[in-house]
């Protein structure tokens, strides 16, 4: 079972969050005590961002962050087969919902991936253009940090999302394909991804 007891995880995440908030408030750019310290933080933040960007734009994540009315699938990010569409709320349409095939866990015996509440990210969270081209690092960074687009998440909120959201966790345990091969993994582990996000958030979420 991929997910441990949610209550325990939830409270430990809160503890991490409180610690993180305390940590970041000590080192917020406006309060940096030396110029060298500030630029290292921003540099470190930008470097961390590129790591985050490499995961966000990996097929396991970006396939559901489309700018169109369809998801993508596969490492080649082709348009999802069988004419599935976004529908209201990104959950498909009646008769052809995401849940029509995708359950709350991977179905390895049939090759269909799954996680709790499988659905498309809203169009405001698109990381591609309408021709399925991946947006640039600055563009995705701006989109991710725009609270009018990202579901009103601040830095800690984004960190929490990267730590806990089942669909994000799924990307790191994406299950087996129909031919019994394992789906390919993002360039970082989940732990590395969360660490990079934390560094970036601490640095004030700088964008290139």
């Amino acid at each position: 079972m991929v997910y441990s007891d949610r209550a325990i995880r939830g409270s430990s995440a809160v503890l991490v969050l409180i610690a993180g908030l305390a940590w970041s408030s000590t080192f917020s750019p406006a309060q940096s005590t030396s110029q060298k310290g500030a630029s290292t933080t921003r540099e470190a933040g930008l470097a961390a961002w590129e790591q985050v960007y490499s995961v966000l734009t990996y097929p396991r994540c970006i396939n559901c962050h489309t700018a169109t009315n369809y998801p993508q699938q596969g490492d080649d990010r082709h348009r999802h087969l069988f004419n599935v569409v976004r529908g209201p709320g990104g959950k498909g349409v009646s008769g052809l919902n995401c849940a029509t095939c995708h359950q709350s866990a991977n179905a390895d015996s049939t090759g269909v991936p799954g996680a709790y509440n499988w659905h498309l990210a809203p169009l405001s969270m698109k990381w591609q253009d309408t021709n399925d081209n991946i947006l640039s690092s600055p563009e995705v960074c701006r989109s991710l940090t725009d609270r009018s687009k990202n579901g009103s998440l601040d830095g800690p909120g984004i960190l929490r999302h990267h730590e806990q959201e089942p669909l994000v966790l799924w990307a790191f345990q994406p299950g087996r394909r129909r031919d019994a091969t394992e789906r390919s993994l993002p360039p970082l582990t989940h732990e590395q991804f969360v660490a990079a996000t934390r560094t970036w958030v601490k640095a004030g979420m700088p964008c290139p």
Partner: protein, 154 residues
């Protein structure tokens, strides 16, 4: 092998199968309910469509281990439902079927559509029914029958 209690068309059924067995084969071979069809096994054609907790679901890709306590309704039971009966009647009145093999799935998808849309437009129909294959090509009459059923239900 594990034992699962499934709620199918209002009845509790118990099956003992390998946990990875798709619901489709549990229905067809354990419960001998062959109304739900095997067309492709990869959720491409919709012939295996059932309702799982009211959601149209492609049973060929859902292992029985992921069902939980969600209730299952199949083509054999959908006639007990007002919308299901209207759809089946419209299918007969409009003489939709040719070989008929895909039609269990078509009807289950159509019922899901009509339960969420009283008066589906052509675009609604094309989206919701867009993933069901009819190799004979009865799409023209499927469209007509859905509209006839909607009228009947109004």
């Amino acid at each position: 092998m594990q034992t699962y209690k499934l709620m199918v068309n209002g009845q509790t059924r118990e099956v003992t199968v390998d946990s990875g067995t798709p619901l489709l084969w549990v229905l067809r071979e354990e419960l001998k309910m062959t109304g739900t069809k095997y067309g492709c096994g990869i959720s491409a054609c919709g012939a295996c469509t059932v309702h799982l907790a009211g959601v149209a679901t492609r049973s060929c890709v859902v292992p029985v281990s992921l069902i939980g306590d969600r209730s299952i309704v199949t083509i054999e039971g959908i006639g007990q439902d007002r919308v299901g009966r209207a759809v089946q009647d419209a299918w007969v009145t409009e003489d939709v079927v040719q070989c008929g093999y895909c039609q269990s799935g078509q009807i289950m998808s159509a019922v899901a559509l009509l339960k969420s849309r009283r008066n589906p437009t052509d675009a609604d129909i094309e989206e919701s029914m867009g993933g069901n294959i009819c190799r004979c090509g009865t799409y023209v009459r499927i469209r007509k029958a859905i509209k006839a059923a909607a009228q009947q239900l109004a």
